[in-house]
Symmetry: C2
Subunit: 351 residues, 2 copies
DNA sequence: TTGAAAGCGATACCAT
DNA sequence: ATGGTATCGCTTTCAA
């Protein structure tokens, strides 16, 4: 088994306290002793013993703050359930949670909410927030002060966050395209596609669309995109625009919904059903919200592509916990979720 | 935070040693004191602190023995990689591994190998073995002696194993059927299906076939099964029988491969290609061995249904570790893997 | 039948 | 700048 701090102290002829100081760069140690200790640790590939660390660290429990713009968007419920589930597992080790679930995408509101989390004592953060300069600058300020941050579901690549945990949106879009290519019947070509997205300002949604288009080309699916409509992740909002599109373009035979407004679009579709030829309409969507599940079971939607929201939350908490135990414990890369294809039969798979 | 043993001792007016004895049913404690201690623990919903337990238990590290009939079957490599990966995570906590990868399905050989694992000092077991009476009897004997056992990938339901971790074979078969129903073109009906399995004695393979047939009915796919061929998970063995089937039944337009002989069947198929109409043959298989991946990328195979072999191994080790820390920590149910649908685009997802 | 004490690995604080 | 010591929660051994 690995070398311990006590053993390092013995080999170096110093006390454990001194070794601890060196290993944590806490200063106040004679350079030559410091060097000797570091060498011994290095040569014996010292890794901190987590059980010991946890036990000793019980007085400074880890409070993790989680920010989600999830009010009004059921998708984030699953991420939150991943957070809380990981917290329960780690409760023994002193991990607790503060979840701030807010509404909307105002930078000021996001910054304010993050500050609140800090004020409430959080010592690490999981953030699903906006990739805009002012928010990023604010976050980098926090990180400077020693608060580790993980970007969940939405990346903020310009910051010094530890890593991003979430979907590979481009790949998901491309997978959707390949799936579509497999279920097409020759007579249906070319595809006339209505695309719905959340917002053209959200990178993830755009990547889903880019991946989709490039996939359609890669798999030689003849197609044209009739329209790209913003639904702002809001079923009620999207209803009327969707209705308008369907009325205006009865030639539509494929619907691609890159964001959380599946129910709204499908309700509009059902109302327009007389003008279209519903049995030939192919529908591919993302995520598996309750209403989406129902529409899949009903047979209206062909596939949904999922992104393991639960895992996103779950793994984020674990990563922050590991980091708290050992700063060197950083994921080598971003943690990208699998691209999960669901049909009715495997719809209840939980991730 | 939860109550500790020390606190229980104080409340009960006894020493920590006594509490420990009671909590571990080690005997030698006056009944009334035992009752009092149990009551206090109960009322305060005492849960053992894992960090403390691990630290104190360092002298009796947990050696987990893993038995796999994986020689000659690449599938098990991923399970093994799940085992070793979990072990690395838990090395700090004293978990080590002995993996016995054997060839074939002889009950005597399996029993012998399990005995060897025990002789080598294993104190917990992950077993992928045969669901036959003599093996099960032997395993129950071991469990009686206090060795916890988890069934991985192949269930042994008649034993007192802690739980089964692996695929839901029936569901996977049914999912395959629904997928197939989605990609069919009307002109192709009815389906003439050649089925390949590992062995008619292996329950998992049979369940994949049952699920498939019931799925085809459920989704109203007109079909007939031309033949069910045993391939014994062996690409070389299956080649000639497959060739014979294809020569004899040029009407075959669908191939369902429920076991690890994908490469062999496809090689035979390519040789018979002139007699069949390859562009109309639908192929659905299981797992994603390297050769299977190649065939998917090549476009010959439409889908593969995967069962997270890595996760099976990974979760098994974690479950045994948790159990070792706290005997009450038993999964409420069997742990069934998700039914993963893969096409070329998401083929490199790792689980 | 029970208690007391040492020890697992790391940390924090006080004393030097 | 460094050492010593108590502590975290639990297990184990030895003594009584």
């Amino acid at each position: 088994m690995a070398i311990t701090i006590k053993e390092i102290a013995e080999q170096a002829g110093v006390s454990r306290g001194t070794v601890d100081r060196v290993l944590h760069n806490r200063g106040g140690v004679k350079p030559e002793i410091e060097a000797r200790i570091k060498r011994i640790a290095e040569q014996n590939s010292f890794r901190i013993n987590k059980a010991g660390r946890i036990l000793a660290g019980r007085k400074q429990p880890l409070v993790v703050g989680c920010l989600m713009p999830g009010v009004g968007n059921l998708f984030f419920d699953d991420v939150i359930s991943g957070y809380t589930s990981a917290q329960k597992e780690l409760a023994d080790y002193g991990v607790s949670l503060k979840i701030k679930n807010i509404r909307g995408f105002s930078p000021e509101r996001h910054i304010e909410a993050i500050q609140e989390l800090l004020d409430e004592g959080c010592r690490a953060l999981c953030l699903s927030t906006l990739d805009v300069p002012e928010v990023c600058r604010f976050i980098d300020g926090i990180i400077e002060k020693g608060i580790p941050v993980i970007a969940v579901n939405t990346d903020i690549p310009e910051t010094k966050r530890i890593c991003y945990i979430g979907s590979d949106y481009y790949k998901a879009g491309k997978t959707a395209a390949q799936l579509l290519s497999k279920i097409l019947r020759p007579g249906e070509l070319p595809l006339k596609i209505a695309v719905f997205t959340g917002s053209l300002n959200i990178k993830g949604h755009n990547e889903r669309i880019t991946g989709f288009e490039e996939g359609l080309s890669a798999y030689h699916v003849e197609h044209s995109i009739i329209n790209i409509t913003e639904g702002f992740d809001n079923d009620e909002y999207v209803f009327l625009p969707a209705l308008a599109i369907f009325e205006k373009h009865p030639e539509i035979n494929c619907i691609y919904i890159a964001a959380s407004c599946v129910a709204g679009v499908c309700t509009a579709l059902k109302q327009s059903v007389m003008k279209l030829q519903p049995e030939r309409i192919r529908i591919v969507v993302f995520d598996d919200l309750p209403e989406t599940k129902r529409l899949i079971r009903e047979g209206l939607i062909d596939f949904t592509i999922c992104q393991s929201p639960f895992q996103q939350g779950y793994q984020a908490i674990h990563a922050l916990f590991n980091y708290a135990l050992d700063k060197r414990d950083i994921p080598a890369n971003n943690i990208l979720m699998n691209t999960i294809i669901k049909i009715a039969e495997n719809l209840d798979d939980k991730d």
